[in-house]
Amino acid sequence: MEALILEPSLYTVKAILILDNDGDRLFAYPSIKEQKAFEKNIFNKTHRTDSEIALLEGLTVVYKSSIDLYFYVIGSSCENELMLMAVLNCLFDSLSQMLRKNVEKRALLENMEGLFLAVDEIVDGGVILESDSQQVVHWVALRGEDVPLTEQTVSQVLQSAKEQIKWSLLW
């Protein structure tokens, strides 16, 4: 029987998971090897439905899917469901902004650093650190020194492509 009254605590989030559409782990926080069976179970119970909340193995699971990605935030069954939902929304919205609304597996994998850093801004040791996706994006989105360099590279590439086209048209 679950405790009727939750011990007041800041430790709200037990886990954050991101699985792909085969139920394989793309990201887990905290990463525990033994957790995989639980992940499979969660995936099997949730991936066919678009309902956003369930009670599984005595834990409250809130989830959301996007194309080929499944996002889960897991907490104790006596946790405030809306708090867990706030974490899920914050994570999803942050990623959505960072991936320019293109929240799908490939884009995510190409931007794993962004994911790692975003989660690091959202939770710390199970405590919700930030719930505002704007803030998360703000802290994660740092301008590197070599930005101009890359942009230059792109325009260079573009320039050379143009020239090549011109050249080929001339032929």
Partner: protein
């Protein structure tokens, strides 16, 4: 632009060009949209991404050794930030996938990484912090980065400071903490919220190992509570509470201070509500309750829900106090947000357990949720309605359930096409509600009957039997006779639910299936009598007579019509338990009916009031005299929770004597205490009489249950005339020595059969498991050993383990029983035959005492 071909020719080049233009454009869009550009998106080399093609996972085939090899790049100068950050990502990805890093390799990679602090690339630096955190418990000497982190934490770059604090606290121990204490205090009150939050949360983590240091920071935390930033306020409040939670007065002050000033953060409010409701458990405080109630009017749903949930969970909350909470939950029921609907109905379900009437007002809202697309919500709505609905609404509900069931079964077809009928209706949504218990019953491979019977056994005894009802209801939806029986058992044991059960059974009377109809009719008429004895005899225990015997007797009865009604007592009792016809052991079910008779007889004796329910009566009376003697005395032992009653059936075979005031005096060898004797007033020639002796079980050493009593019959003899039966008025005292009476552990254990011993074994769990090894020096065969153990413990051999296969020198005997007081006791006995038999006994129970007694008595 994804996957553009690069096969060659100018058309392809044109495509490349378009793609590049598109890339550029979307960049610009992002940049103007958010004002920032994401470095990792930039990291993606456009030319490269075009060649990758769709769908591949760049991390899929990562080799740990190869990645660690790559980490050597860290030592190169100048540092290539992009490349290095990518390698760190790979390492983190591997760790995240559960890959194990050895200490040496982790340390090596960690030291290489420290070089990267020379670069000022923000992304790379942030990745370094993450790597430090991940490796803090794998690699050695991680503290060498302390000074770098301290520098970043106090530096100018705000984006470094928060994460640096978090990484630093991760690698810090109590001794080092003092060195950075000054910086931590500053960080807690820093004006940058991310720095302050990071410091507060890290302090919270540090409380576990460095409480004494961290508690010196409360003044700073106190200051941070008044921050304008909602997260800082939340973290500061949390830290304060965790530091002070053992000081009731301090917590009390804290609550009154912050409730007076009000808080900004909804998270902080939730925290305060929890603290207040915790405090309410210990002190009576209407200000505390008023605070929680005032939160019902907060503008954040999260806070409103937290407050409602806190009120619902308060022990001893009155209906009036509940009402405002219930009405906000009612509003939430129609929220477009599934999480909020779920939270609301889950909480209402809790209310319904204690105060069903308080939820009645929400019935309409709940019924709308029965068809909710989220099955957890629908299931919770149904279970709540079953608790609160009137008879009429249950009827209406049934219709809605049927639509819901079909939805689930459709889904199940995809899951498991092998089973003819959809047990997933039980395993998927209802499991959510009941958790473990459901799963075990529902996942039983022979689900239709076995699981029904197991609920019927277990269900009514659980704390919340109503949780199980929907299960049985589902079963009826699938036309299952077992379900009807299960339902009847609920009704027989739980008066509260009886009205609902009767409604359900009434529906079954109109079922298409003969057997369902018949059973429903039968149970209905029994239950409507509302007599406990009938319930026990016809629903809970079922028939104890032998089925062929009943058939014969009934046939006989129809052949010879008579005025007398058919007497079930004339039918011979079943001599073996129904489920296992094979064993010729003394069956428990015979004991059950004999026991009922005994129970009645004993209940009529005033001295035996208040002994509690009769747990067991010994299966056969023991003769305490030799046959053909003057007096024939046979003893039946009755075990009660804390007492034993010895019933002595006496027959006087001397035709010239009448015995009066007959008692059997007992001298126990163990700590049993004789409490009273109930004499047989008169024992005329050849007319059996009964006297009783009541003893209390040993209290000081409860394991000493085995005992030998020396017995002496005491009585007054009056001579009488054998022909006329006339008795002298004068008599004389006499006594008569009887055989010793043995009480063994078997008298305290009732046999039960576990069809699936392993499941029962796991169910009991190993909390009170004990194991000991014995040598049975006098026993030469395994059969003999098994026979002795079974007889000695008086438990039921399960899974035919009482049969020893030929030519084996090892065997495992599985025994099941219920110990006095109703605790399951299971014994697994491994036997090894060499010259003598060696036996390893493992006992499990839901209590410690039975295990101790079993092992003590074997030894």
């Amino acid at each position: 632009m994804e996957g553009a071909p690069l096969a060659g020719g100018w058309l392809d080049l044109l495509a490349v060009c378009r793609a590049l233009v598109a890339t550029q454009r979307s960049w610009n869009l992002t940049r103007s949209g958010t004002g920032t550009c994401f470095p990792w998106i930039r990291l993606r080399d456009p030319a490269c991404s075009l060649t990758i093609g769709g769908g591949s996972n760049p991390f899929q085939h990562l080799e740990k050794s190869a990645v660690l090899q790559e980490a050597r790049v860290f030592n190169e100068t100048p540092i290539n930030p992009r490349k290095c950050a990518h390698i760190l990502t790979k390492i983190l990805y591997l760790i995240n996938q559960g890959e194990h890093l050895g200490t040496t390799e982790a340390t090596e990679a960690f030291f290489a990484m420290t070089k990267l602090f020379q670069s000022n690339d923000p992304t790379l630096r942030r990745m370094c912090y993450l790597t430090i955190k991940e490796m803090s418990c794998i690699a050695e000497d991680v503290i060498i980065v302390t000074s770098s982190l301290t520098k970043d934490m106090t530096g100018k770059e705000d984006s470094y400071r928060g994460p640096a604090v978090r990484a630093l606290c991760q690698i810090t121990d109590s001794t080092m903490l003092q060195a950075i204490e000054r910086y931590m205090k500053q960080a807690i009150v820093d004006k940058v919220p991310s720095v302050s939050s990071s410091a507060l949360v890290s302090s919270l983590h540090l409380l576990k190992c460095s409480f004494d240091v961290v508690k010196r920071w409360v003044n700073e935390a106190q200051e941070a509570v008044s921050s304008d930033n909602i997260m800082v306020q939340y973290h500061a409040l949390g830290l304060l509470y965790h530091v002070r939670k053992n000081d009731r007065l301090a917590v009390s002050k804290m609550i009154s201070k912050f409730t007076r000033h009000g808080l900004k953060s909804p998270f902080a409010y939730c925290m305060m509500i929890r603290v207040a409701s915790r405090q309410l458990e210990e002190e009576d405080g209407s200000p505390l309750f008023d605070f929680i109630e005032s939160c019902l009017r907060n503008k954040h749903e999260m806070v409103v829900y937290e407050a409602a949930s806190a009120i619902v969970n308060l022990p001893g909350c009155s209906a009036k106090e509940l009402a405002p909470a219930v009405s906000v939950l009612q509003l939430f029921c129609s929220s477009p947000k599934a999480a909020l609907r779920y939270a609301a109905v889950r909480t209402l379900n809790k209310v319904a357990m204690k105060h069903p009437s308080a939820v009645t007002a929400c019935n309409l809202d709940l019924e709308n949720l029965v068809t909710d697309s989220n099955r957890s919500i629908a299931t919770l709505a149904i279970t709540t309605l079953l608790k609160t609905g009137s008879e009429g609404s249950i009827d209406r509900l049934m219709k809605q359930i049927s639509s819901f069931m079909s939805e689930i079964s459709d889904e199940f077809k995809v899951h498991s096409p092998r089973l003819p009928r959809p047990p997933s209706a039980l395993s998927s949504p209802l499991v959510l509600q009941g958790g473990f218990e459901y799963k075990r019953t529902a996942s039983s491979p022979c689900w239709p009957r076995a699981s029904c019977t197991s609920w019927a056994r277990r269900g009514p005894k659980t704390n919340n039997p109503s949780k199980y009802i929907p299960l049985a209801v589902n079963r009826i939806c699938f036309v299952n006779t077992g379900a009807v029986s299960a339902l009847a058992k609920f009704g027989a044991q739980n008066e509260e639910m009886l009205p609902s059960i009767l409604v359900l059974l009434k529906r079954c009377v109109m079922d298409d299936d003969n057997e369902v109809r018949d059973r429903a009719t039968f149970y209905l008429s029994v239950l409507e009598q509302k007599q406990k004895a009938l319930n026990a005899g016809y629903i809970l225990n079922g028939l104890t007579v032998s089925i062929p015997g009943l058939e014969r007797a009934l046939q006989q009865y129809t052949l010879e019509p008579s005025e007398k009604p058919f007497d079930l007592k004339s039918v011979p009792l079943a001599t073996t338990p129904m489920a296992e016809q094979r064993t010729a052991k003394q069956p428990e079910k015979v004991a059950a009916t004999r026991q009922e008779i005994f129970q009645e007889q004993l209940a009529a004796v005033p001295e035996f009031q208040g002994l509690g329910p009769l747990f067991k009566s010994s299966p056969e009376p023991v003769a305490l005299t030799e046959s053909e003697t003057e007096y024939v005395i046979r003893c039946t032992k009755h075990t009660f929770p804390e007492h034993m009653v010895f019933q002595f059936d006496c027959t006087n075979t001397l035709n010239d004597q009448t015995l009066e005031n007959v008692t059997v005096q007992l001298e126990p060898t163990e700590a049993y205490e004789v409490l009273c004797y109930v004499p047989a007033r008169s024992l005329p020639y050849n007319q059996p009489g009964t006297c009783y002796t009541l003893v209390a079980l040993p209290k000081e050493d409860p394991t000493a249950v085995g005992c030998t009593f020396s017995c002496m019959m005491k009585f007054t003899v009056k001579d009488c005339d054998p022909t006329t039966g006339e008795t002298d008025d004068e008599g004389y005292e006499d006594e008569y020595v009887l055989e010793d009476l043995e009480v063994t552990i078997a008298d305290h254990i009732q046999k039960v059969m576990k069809l699936n011993f392993e499941a029962a074994w796991d169910e009991v769990g190993d909390e009170f498991e004990k194991e000991e090894t014995f040598t049975l020096s006098t026993i030469k065969t395994l059969e003999e050993a098994v026979g002795n153990i079974v007889k000695f413990l008086g438990m039921h051999p399960c899974e035919r383990s009482d049969k020893v296969p030929d030519n084996k020198n090892t065997h495992t005997l599985l025994l099941a029983g219920v110990f006095r007081g109703g605790h399951d006791i299971l014994v697994r006995s491994r036997l090894l035959l060499l010259d003598t038999v060696t036996m390893q006994v493992t006992a499990r129970s839901s209590e410690e005492l039975p295990v101790d007694i079993v092992l003590a008595s074997v030894g």
